[in-house]
């Protein structure tokens, strides 16, 4: 049974691998289609890498990945949001290509690239001097050809009042939007054989110019000095000139917020601008503070509105609620304990489920990697796939599904003997 399931898994994985190969081959035409959506990328280095990229960009599209590549060049030149968006671009594809390239049979000079693949929290050092360098940004045009103008979007322009230089700011943000793609060539210098494909081509699908570039920002780790950098996740900004960068708050950040508010005399007295100044957190905008302050005020002066919220919808429960009041305190406590039990149980199961899901995908990735390795190492060899026969390269690995060697061998029918299933 074990062997059987192992074999079937290999087969399905092999099929997937096959499909991937096919998909990559098919993706070649995609390259031709891209110019339709965007100005041709002058930077497509190797054809193979390009293929991988086009398929990867097709998949990863506007997905953003959590790692922020601490590229010093970028941090000096780009203000926070542009940096995050550029990083978004590059990490999107970079992360993906790293994974595929790990598995890929086509590119091999990715060692540099791989360095950037790790998930790293936003290095505050990168961000600290990233906020205001309007003069730095002006250097950009020299470096980069202006590429696709499909960028309507995703870069959030930071509100100018934060930084006091209104006109400079507008110029800067306009430039930023235009130069966004310009940043990618820098990456190309570093990323050998891979190209940061402009995800903008996907924009053409977007009605109204909204982008779905997603950025995952790491939760922030406040510096010991109290200064901290803020994780920003740019959101689609099809509407309006200034969209609010979506930020992920953390308890530490909130603590700093509360401290600042208290220093300013309480939640009623404190103003967003004051709090912002007091907090001294890089990357935090007045919008963030404003909305957070509003939530904070609501929470303070109407504690737990949610306890009434769900009950409003369900009329029977409102009656129950009042009848609940009449019951003895002890019974209420017992009821609450019961509720807690169920909730804890649910949470426990959710965590278990999540871990399982993570492990499942990890396993899938691992197997994929094994296939790639096999494929790569066995390219010249002509083997008859068999679960009992040792593969061309003795692949040592903790494969729970038994021998996974026959799987990948079978996926390259052009180069191998017929698949022996």
């Amino acid at each position: 049974m074990e062997a059987q399931s192992a074999l079937s898994f290999q087969r399905s994985a092999a099929r997937q691998f096959n499909n991937h190969g096919a998909a990559s081959a098919r993706s070649a035409p995609l390259d031709d289609k891209y110019p339709k959506f965007t100005n041709p990328q002058p930077n497509f280095s190797t054809g193979a890498a390009g293929h991988i990229f086009s398929s990867s960009s097709g998949i990863s599209t506007d997905f953003n990945v959590s790692s922020v590549i601490p590229h010093s060049n970028l941090s000096e030149k780009a203000p926070f949001t542009s940096q995050s968006s550029v990083i978004r671009q590059s990490t999107t594809s970079s992360q993906y290509t790293n994974e595929t390239n790990n598995n890929s049979w086509c590119t091999d000079s990715l060692s540099d690239f791989l360095d950037y693949s790790e998930n790293t929290p936003i290095q505050s050092s990168n961000l600290e001097h990233s906020i205001m360098p309007s003069e730095d940004l002006l250097d950009y045009p020299q470096n980069a050809p202006i590429q696709s103008s499909n960028l309507e979007h995703s870069i959030m322009s930071l509100p100018s009042e934060d930084f006091g230089k209104q006109s400079d700011w507008q110029d800067w943000t306009d430039q930023l939007i235009n130069e966004n793609d310009a940043l990618t060539p820098d990456w190309n210098d570093i990323l050998i054989d891979t190209n940061v494909v402009d995800p903008e081509p996907k924009m053409s699908y977007h009605v109204g110019g909204s982008s779905t570039n997603l950025v995952q920002a790491q939760p922030l780790i406040p510096q010991s000095s109290g200064e901290a950098c803020v994780p920003l996740t740019p959101t689609p900004c099809g509407s309006g000139s200034q969209s609010k960068p979506r930020m992920r708050w953390t308890p530490e950040l909130h603590e700093a917020f509360v401290e600042a508010v208290n220093k300013l005399g309480g939640s009623e007295k404190a103003t967003p601008k004051g709090v912002l100044k007091q907090m001294k957190v890089e990357g935090l905008t007045i919008y963030h503070v404003k909305s957070h302050l509003q939530k904070y005020r609501t929470a303070r002066y109407r504690p737990e509105p949610s306890s009434e919220g769900p009950l409003e919808k369900n009329t029977t429960s409102v009656e129950d609620f009042s009848s609940l009041e009449l019951k003895t305190g002890l019974e209420i406590t017992e009821a609450l304990r019961l509720q807690m039990e169920v909730q804890k149980r649910l949470h426990e199961q959710l965590e278990i489920q999540r871990n399982l899901q993570l492990r499942i995908e990890e396993q899938g990735r691992y197997l994929q990697m094994m296939f790639e390795k096999q494929c790569k190492s066995g390219t010249d060899k002509f083997t008859v796939p068999s679960s009992t026969e040792p593969g061309p390269d003795p692949v040592v690995g903790p494969s729970e599904e038994g021998s996974s060697k026959s799987g990948p061998d079978g996926s390259q029918p052009a180069k191998r003997a017929k698949v022996n299933e």
């Binding site: 096919a22 998949i59 708050w249 953390t250 308890p251 304990r337 509720q339």
Partner: protein
């Protein structure tokens, strides 16, 4: 098919304001059906990916919004508890109001705990839906979208629920301190009468049962599937939802 129904049920019964925030499983499934498996499917793949991205964005926005709220409310809850406990009642009148406040905050904190757990559940259900729809897509088109796409999804804010889980655990600690030692579940059966219809509780019970249903063995069980879920006291939990108009069983 089963998942779609379960999801629909779950969404119908979920907290107000959450209805539109779940995965549009049905819509995406329709889309997958429309996609032919011809070689022309690259464009459709892009469209499909676009749709999926939109869904993920929707999750992220909602999730982070809720998360921010939870962070704020969690801290406020702590403050509130401190305030109440500090005001130790000395006289009879004070005692009554103290008791009242205590019972109110106990209820609030338990509901708060439940809400956070429901958010984690939200995240998980949507993730599960995503894997399923991607699997359908791959099956339909012979494509290979699932594995890399799901890797991306796993890094999205809505799936990285560590912070919310941490808040949940902290909440549990606080609750443990507020309430004297927990009683065994069997003894709590007497209390079931008093919890009928409680909003959050009802939702968590349902979520737990839904999870069990979703994880029942299916015909397409594979190495990528989750094992079936065995819950202790499943019958007891089922009995909690006697007020539900739509039985989940």
């Amino acid at each position: 098919m089963k998942f779609g129904k379960r999801l629909k049920q779950h969404v119908q019964e979920t907290l107000p304001g959450w209805h539109n925030m779940y995965l549009n499983y049905k819509g995406l499934k329709k889309h997958v059906k429309l996609i032919s498996s011809s070689l022309e499917c690259e464009i459709s793949e892009d469209e499909f990916v676009y749709l999926l991205d939109n869904e993920v964005e929707k999750f992220n926005v909602f999730f982070m919004e809720q998360e921010e709220d939870f962070i704020i409310r969690h801290e406020e809850m702590q403050q509130r508890i401190k305030r109440i406990i500090v005001n130790e009642p000395s006289s009879q009148e004070e005692y009554e109001s103290y008791e009242q406040e205590m019972s109110k905050i106990k209820k609030d904190i338990v509901d708060f705990h439940g809400e956070m757990v429901l958010l984690v559940n939200y995240s998980n259900i949507n993730y599960t839906g995503m894997t399923k729809i991607l699997k359908k897509y791959d099956k339909r088109t012979g494509g290979f979208l699932r594995l890399p796409f799901i890797q991306k999804v796993m890094e999205q804010p809505f799936f990285t629920t560590e912070l919310v889980s941490k808040l949940v655990k902290e909440c549990e600690t606080t609750i443990g301190e507020l309430f004297p030692a927990m009683v065994a579940v069997e003894e709590m059966t007497k209390a079931t009468g008093t919890v009928a219809g409680e909003g959050i509780f009802k939702n968590t019970v349902k979520a737990l049962l839904t999870m069990k249903e979703i994880r029942k063995g299916s015909s397409t069980h594979s190495h990528f599937s989750l094992p079936t879920l065995n819950l202790r006291d499943i019958e007891l939990i089922r009995s909690f939802q006697f007020s539900s108009p739509i039985p989940i069983i």
